[in-house]
Symmetry: C2
Subunit: 202 residues, 2 copies
């Protein structure tokens, strides 16, 4: 498998999964906003010129959530995803999808208003609104972690999705001081060797 | 199964799937912004007081994408989702996740800036930016539909996800006049009896 990657992007989730599963892959790394990602060749892989993209033989696909489910289905051998018959399965699905459904939209808006736009086009009102909404989304994760180490019981790909989104949120200046479960959870995830390997890629 | 529902929300996707699969369900319908959705009882079902929520015996889950995958896995009997071994499977996953990953964030921002915020707090700059981004996201769907009727070959739950997001976009004043494949696709989806039943729920 070839993973088209950039540091501090959603591609890190795919690398994290591949490291957890100890699957071999070739890393093709781009700098943030690299011109190669706007080339016609790269747009054949991803129409908007983004990462991650996974190539696996004849298969090419984008969207980090899709790639995680693909890798788990084809190569996971039952690891990091509860069996469909398990009571943990719906919980797994819920938190897997919560990442892009609930956490990433305010994360993205916050990043646009504080980082991606030139300073004079940034809006403090919009940045504050995004950070407030993000805080609300994270409180639900904190509550869900009450009494358990991971979102679906055992560590799973739902933790890679929602955990990585929560880590990005932490970098977005959200105050986690009243979210002790979430704080401990992010430390627990950060201590995983596969996470550390993926986070160190560049 | 009990489906907590509101018209013009992501809950419509769940109703559409249940209608396609001809599965029986009880509809519990709320008006937009109904106070019951802010009650402590409802927040036991969804911490932010949103729909859809699906109850199925002991199982309660939210996030439309999670609910669709749950229903397909437990009750789909192989319908509306390609088999994992099929070449269509990665394509299915990609477009299933594209809905919330790419289309819904600008849809939401557009709706916030034109509908949800009181008029004097709305920002025309932000509304225009969201609509422009949304147009780019939809062009990729238009291209993907070149030469095929549905995103993963046969009609699948990926069409319920990305198709419903594209329909919402159409309501967000995006100009689809140069997207003939997408325009025909939305007509094709709208003609499905299960879609029509779900869209008429209130």
């Amino acid at each position: 498998m070839k993973l088209h990657f950039a540091a501090n992007s959603r591609a890190m989730r795919v690398a994290w999964l591949l490291e957890e599963l100890e699957l071999p892959y070739e890393l093709i790394s781009y700098g943030l906003g690299a011109p190669e990602m706007r080339s016609p060749e790269f747009r054949q892989l991803h129409p908007m010129g983004r990462v991650p993209v996974l190539e696996d033989g004849d298969v090419t696909l984008f969207e980090s959530g899709a790639i995680l489910e693909y890798v788990l289905s084809r190569y996971g051998e039952g690891r990091l995803r509860p069996d469909v018959s398990s009571p943990a399965y719906p919980t797994y699905l819920q938190w897997f999808h919560y990442c892009e459904g609930m956490i990433m939209p305010p994360v993205n808006n916050y990043m646009v208003e504080t980082f991606f736009l030139p300073p004079k086009r940034q809006s403090e009102v919009h940045a504050k609104r995004a950070r407030k909404l993000l805080g609300q989304m994270l409180i639900a994760v904190d509550h869900a972690l009450d009494g358990q180490d991971y979102l679906a019981g055992e560590f799973s790909a739902a933790d890679i999705m929602t955990g990585s989104a929560a880590m990005t949120s932490k970098r977005a200046d959200v105050d986690l001081s009243e979210m002790p479960n979430l704080t401990a959870y992010l430390e627990r995830l950060s201590a995983r060797p596969a996470f550390q390997t993926a986070a160190a890629l560049s």
